[in-house]
Amino acid sequence: MSLIIFIEITCFIIAVICLIKDADMTWRSMALFLLITCITEITGKLLKHAHQHNQWVYNIFLVFEASFTSFMFSNIIGKYINSRPLFLSGLALILLLYVYEVIDHGFFVFNNLTATVMSVIFVVYCFYYYYLLIKDEQSIDLQRSAPFWWVAGALFFYFGSTVVNLFLSFLQDVSVAGHNITYFIFTALTVILYSCWSYSFICKKWLTTSRS
């Protein structure tokens, strides 16, 4: 089992333990999203081992990723502003690009442009959330704030992915210990993402327990 699948399964288990009884449906849905993530990752790996195309699996996953992540951002930023128009516009743009790419090169090639634009959109959401957080007059204990750590994980992952995607053509030629450097970067980004998310789920559990 690869490190990425291991950390994804661990995060999924933590999500189930911490969020299954959460009052907020958006947070509860994270367990379902992580289950889909684990299934996608395992299916992708199995297809790769069987020497079959697996990019269509990640294309399907892209739909879930865009929806669930936007849903979460909408919930988190919605505490400060009416976030619905912003997220519906973001989703519409992603959908438009997705359809364009599918028409352009078919379903069996990964929608790279959609993934890159989606990452940029999510990075913008992350910065917007932090801007609203700084502007907010109320103080929050950030070390125990579930939304803060969830967004931190997303920022690391999507910002990192965008940067790597931008320099991909140059980085592809760099190899370390028999692997391409992008493999190590993406593994590190995934570890950071799921560590931050796991911690945010634990924070959410603390908050839920203390409120009830």
């Binding site: 103080s139 940067v163 140059f170």
Partner: protein, 263 residues
């Protein structure tokens, strides 16, 4: 050519690593900023608590001062008048009706004066509540009480139009400073003439008090940290963003100005 390509690759790698570190700095910045925000909120709360405590203390001091004034009035004025009435009534001899009538009239006069004094005392008792009606009104009552002793000639001038909305906390602080200054004048200055001016100029409430008393060396008093009353005045004025200025020289009287942003 190969060397150049390797160099570019290295640069790209370094740039990628720098970009990957960017979120770390963003998150660290937000954490530090939030910590400062929490500290600032805590400091604000502490300042508010200190301010509230000072206001309560000032209120208590105003009440205590009023009680002291009442006590002194009861002892020195009303007590004396009633003792005299009692003495006059007890000395009446009914066999001498003319003298008895004179004494009864004197007792009636003394009782009337006692009633008048009691009424004034009643108003003094409301002194700390008078701030609700207005600072100027409260100052007038304080002056009435001081003038009653006959030892001081007090001139009061009220300048400028008062703002539509008053600030009770600031009124209370100004009134307490006035009481404190008056106490100092009565206890130490041997003054005969007191001038009080209350003015509202350019969103500042100004209270100026001067006397023709013996004065004191203001500089040495500050250096010796002996003027606790004066320091209290400064402290109180500062908590509402104001300032107290004291001019005084030996045998040249004292002038005190209090300027507070208002309302």
């Amino acid at each position: 050519m190969q060397k150049m390509a390797n160099h570019i690759q290295e640069l790209i790698l370094i740039a990628t690593l720098i970009f990957l570190l960017a979120p770390v700095f963003v998150i660290l910045y937000i954490l530090v900023y939030n910590r400062r925000k929490i500290k600032h909120i805590e400091e604000k709360e502490q300042m508010k608590l200190a301010f509230d405590a000072e206001i309560v203390k000032t209120q208590l001091e105003v009440q205590e001062q009023t009680m002291q004034n009442i006590g002194a009035d009861l002892h020195d004025n009303i007590g004396q008048l009633l003792s005299l009435s009692s003495l006059t009534l007890s000395s009446i001899q009914l066999d001498d009706l003319t003298k008895a009538r004179e004494k009864i009239d004197a007792a009636i006069d003394l009782t009337g004066r006692s009633i008048k004094e009691m009424r004034l005392l009643g108003k003094l008792l409301q002194g700390d509540q008078l701030l609700g009606v207005g600072l100027s009104e409260a100052i007038c009552h304080e002056i009435n009480w001081i003038e009653k002793s006959g030892k001081y000639q007090v001139d009061y001038l009220h300048e400028g139009e008062m703002p539509a909305t008053s600030n009770l906390d600031k009124d209370l602080i100004l009134f307490r400073i006035l009481q404190e200054v008056m106490n100092n004048i009565i206890k130490h200055s041997f003054a005969t003439k007191i001038n009080i001016k209350l003015a509202y100029i350019a969103q500042n409430m100004e209270l100026h008090i001067d006397d023709n008393g013996v004065g004191f060396d203001a500089l040495s008093l500050h250096a010796a940290h002996n003027g606790m009353g004066l320091q209290n005045m400064q402290k109180r004025a500062r908590i509402v963003g104001g300032e107290v200025t004291i001019w005084s020289l030996q045998n040249e009287g004292t002038r005190i100005s209090v300027i507070i942003p208002y309302p």
